[in-house]
């Protein structure tokens, strides 16, 4: 447990840096970039969890995150905006948002649980586009313009005035999510899920309910994604259908792939890379507003050259340094083809 590995040194170093960040970088960095990195990382982590331990690459994580965000928006605003304007206490809004998002996630998961690989990718993409169109069309809960003036709880206060508070809330949430995901992966449920990922037919013949495990994993990942959605609406104060459109869906996929689809840490690495590129590319004259062309090209390059993402590059560098070689079972989900059924 106490062995010092390069991974651990980097991890603890990153955590320490994250804790002292508000004292060493500008408040713009903390408020605009790092907080965004943390909640985007949480959503991407839910995607990576499903892909790394369940073998399911889900494009519905942003839809679930948006559902949580829209519920919070509808529940906690009080007049002056679209939606239901229920005017609840923000904490009740959080509970309702997460509960509804998990409920929808379980339904989504149950419907998609019999599919794997690209079928799963397609079905979850369908969910995502339908969620976007639904919030765009159903004016009772949002409509095209979305919901504005969503308040954070009193303890956090006005986000513009107290950027560090939301940052630390997001940091604690991200850290807890990371620990929770790691813990769940080591429980009997997590181990069974990995069995289902590697050989569903064998797991079924051993008596495990494969579809139920996939469904519960999806519901659990929805729980994680909805935490990201709550932080997003607190941070942004506003949510509209464009926050969860195809572009946003693909952004989170890009983050997960750039980070690396098989290590949870990759979520935040990818998110940091994403927000920095997003922020600074605008200042480069020949890129300017064409951020998505740039990020698309980087995404393409990563998928073509290093399917393990940035974390994969790091691991390859460590291998080269120590002269060891990785076992083939550690290949990324992208490279592993569909599971052949040996019937």
């Amino acid at each position: 447990m106490t062995r010092i590995t390069p991974d651990r040194v980097v991890g603890i170093g990153a955590l320490v840096l994250a804790v002292i960040a508000p004292f060493i970088v500008s408040s713009y960095w903390v408020g605009a970039l790092l907080t965004q990195m943390l909640f985007l990382g949480i959503v991407a982590a839910s995607l990576i969890f499903l892909s790394a331990y369940g073998g399911m690459i889900s494009l519905a994580q942003v839809a679930v995150y948006g559902i949580a965000g829209f519920v919070v928006g509808n529940a906690t605003t009080n007049g002056n905006t679209k939606g239901l304007n229920l005017g609840w206490n923000p904490w009740w809004g959080v509970i309702a948002g997460i509960a509804i998002a998990v409920g929808v996630g379980l339904l989504f998961g149950a419907l998609a649980s019999r599919s794997v690989g690209i079928y799963f990718l397609m079905i979850t993409l369908t969910y995502s586009v339908i969620a976007n169109l639904t919030f765009g069309q159903v004016t009772d809960v949002s409509g095209f313009g979305g919901i504005s003036g969503i308040p954070a709880p009193g303890a956090i206060g006005r986000v513009e005035a107290h950027q560090n508070r939301l940052y630390y809330v997001a940091l604690v949430a991200a850290f807890l999510v990371y620990l929770l995901l790691r813990y769940v992966a080591r429980t009997p449920f997590g181990l069974t899920l990995q069995g289902v990922r590697d050989d569903p037919i064998r797991m079924a013949s051993l008596g495990y309910n494969v579809n139920l495990h996939r469904t519960i994993a999806f519901g659990f990942a929805s729980f994680v994604a909805s935490i990201g959605g709550v932080l997003f609406v607190w941070w942004n104060g506003h949510i509209d259908p464009a926050s969860i459109d195809l572009g946003a869906t693909i952004d989170v996929l890009v983050i997960a792939v750039i980070g690396g689809l098989y290590r949870l840490e990759g979520a935040w690495v990818g998110a940091l890379f994403f927000v920095i590129v997003n922020n600074y590319s605008q200042q480069i004259s020949f890129i300017g507003p064409r951020f998505h062309t740039l990020i698309g090209a980087i995404f393409l390059l990563i998928v073509l050259v290093s399917p393990g993402g940035l974390v994969g590059l790091w691991e390859r560098a460590l291998e080269l340094a120590s002269g060891t070689h990785k076992e083939p079972s550690d290949r990324t989900p992208i490279e592993v083809g569909p599971v052949e059924s040996h019937v």
């Binding site: 690989g117 993409l125 369908t126 004016t139 459109d245 693909i250 698309g296 393409l300």
Partner: protein, 369 residues
């Protein structure tokens, strides 16, 4: 001596079987309700007044608008079929989910739009009207748009997809990356304002169908005609020609076809070009029928996905049935929901997908890969 005896059925197994039967009964009942209630509503129950008032009332009350809704559904399905048949052709043969299909659709539309404007002129502030456009001004842009997109799809397949055959998820991610770049570049070059291609003046009129005195948009019937022609041509191509035979064999067993000495790479290239061409042609028709704007690539990718999820991946007949179900569902839910709730119609698209997935995870005509 061992005697063959039927194995004793344990109580546990019996209760599991019973539970399974109960679940099946509940499932079928739910399904029946979900199908029968909407049917009854549309045919007999939909009112024209009161809290639940619909725009037209029931089919018995207003057969004319019922027939028009059917026609709208079928003609919308025709366009879905043109686009989705290309998607399913590519998937069926190569197991490539072309996530850039929606972007190719939009690109085909924009190429035709710019060419038409180049031939005729920019038109007024709302673009060209059909009075300014003759048949040639529509057909030539349509052909060019289709061919350009076919070439683009072919290039995409040769450069990015050919060398990682079989890595399905990686290929899907590659096409997603290409769709991001394409969509962003189209936004940069063609702007963010919705524009449409003008129909030629010869067909932009109404036809008297001589049923219930319906005057119906001729362009919608033209779309239906084009889709039927494409469906028949694709069917003949797949069933009656040598290339089609190789494609069908490739769908069933790629390795065996290759081992027989057939150049499967050439077949892949042809299928990818044809599949992309259909996206491009769909874009031209869709751009004339509705409009072209950033973000519509997502809608058309959604339609293609829904059609093939319903119909089953790689099946032409499935694409036709899937398109019909999607077209009818979306048009009927928009026309027959109570007027104050019509914007909920998108939910019905989701319900359609959900019901099909719950009953047949591989789609109506899907077969295991």
């Amino acid at each position: 001596m061992a005697v063959d005896r039927p194995p004793a059925i344990s109580n546990r197994a019996r209760s599991l079987a019973l539970r399974r039967r109960v679940l099946l009964v509940i499932g079928w009942t739910l399904l029946a309700i979900l199908v029968i209630v909407p049917l009854l509503w549309v045919l007999f129950l939909a009112p024209t007044t009161g809290k639940w008032a619909t725009a037209f009332g029931s089919a018995v009350h207003d057969p004319k608008d019922f027939l028009i809704t059917v026609l709208n559904g079928v003609t919308a399905a025709a366009l879905y079929f043109v686009v989705a048949s290309g998607f399913t052709l590519i998937f069926g043969l190569m197991r490539v989910v072309n996530m850039a299909h929606g972007a190719l659709f939009l690109f085909g539309g924009y190429v035709a739009l710019k060419l038409q404007r180049g031939m005729v002129g920019e038109g007024g502030s709302f673009g060209l009207t059909s009075a300014q456009v003759n048949l040639t001004h529509w057909i030539i842009p349509a052909i060019v748009g289709t061919v350009v997109v076919a070439a683009m799809g072919l290039a995409m397949q040769q450069v990015f997809l050919r060398w990682n055959q079989g890595q399905e998820l990686r290929q899907a991610l590659i096409t997603i990356a290409i769709s991001i770049i394409l969509a962003d570049q189209m936004l940069a070059h063609f702007g963010g304002v919705a524009e449409d291609i003008a129909w030629p003046r010869n067909i932009d009129t109404f036809v008297n169908l001589r049923v219930q005195g319906i005057l119906y948009t001729e362009t919608r019937l033209v779309i239906l005609g084009i889709a039927l022609a494409i469906g028949i041509l694709l069917w003949l191509w797949l069933k009656r020609t040598r290339t089609g035979m190789v494609i069908r064999a490739g769908v069933d067993d790629r390795a065996m076809v290759s081992a027989l000495g057939i150049n499967i790479q050439l077949t892949f290239a042809i299928a990818f070009a044809v599949g992309s061409a259909l996206a491009g042609l769909g874009g031209v028709i869709g751009g004339s029928f509705a409009s072209l704007a950033p973000g519509l690539d997502a809608n058309w990718l959604l339609y293609s996905l829904v059609v093939v999820i319903i119909g089953g991946m790689g099946s032409l007949g499935g694409a036709a049935i899937g398109s019909l179900l999607l077209g009818l569902t979306s048009n009927f839910s928009a026309a027959y929901l109570p007027s104050t709730y019509t914007y909920y119609s998108i939910i019905f698209t989701f319900m359609l997908v959900a019901i099909i997935l719950a009953v047949r995870p591989l789609g109506l005509f899907g077969r295991p890969a």
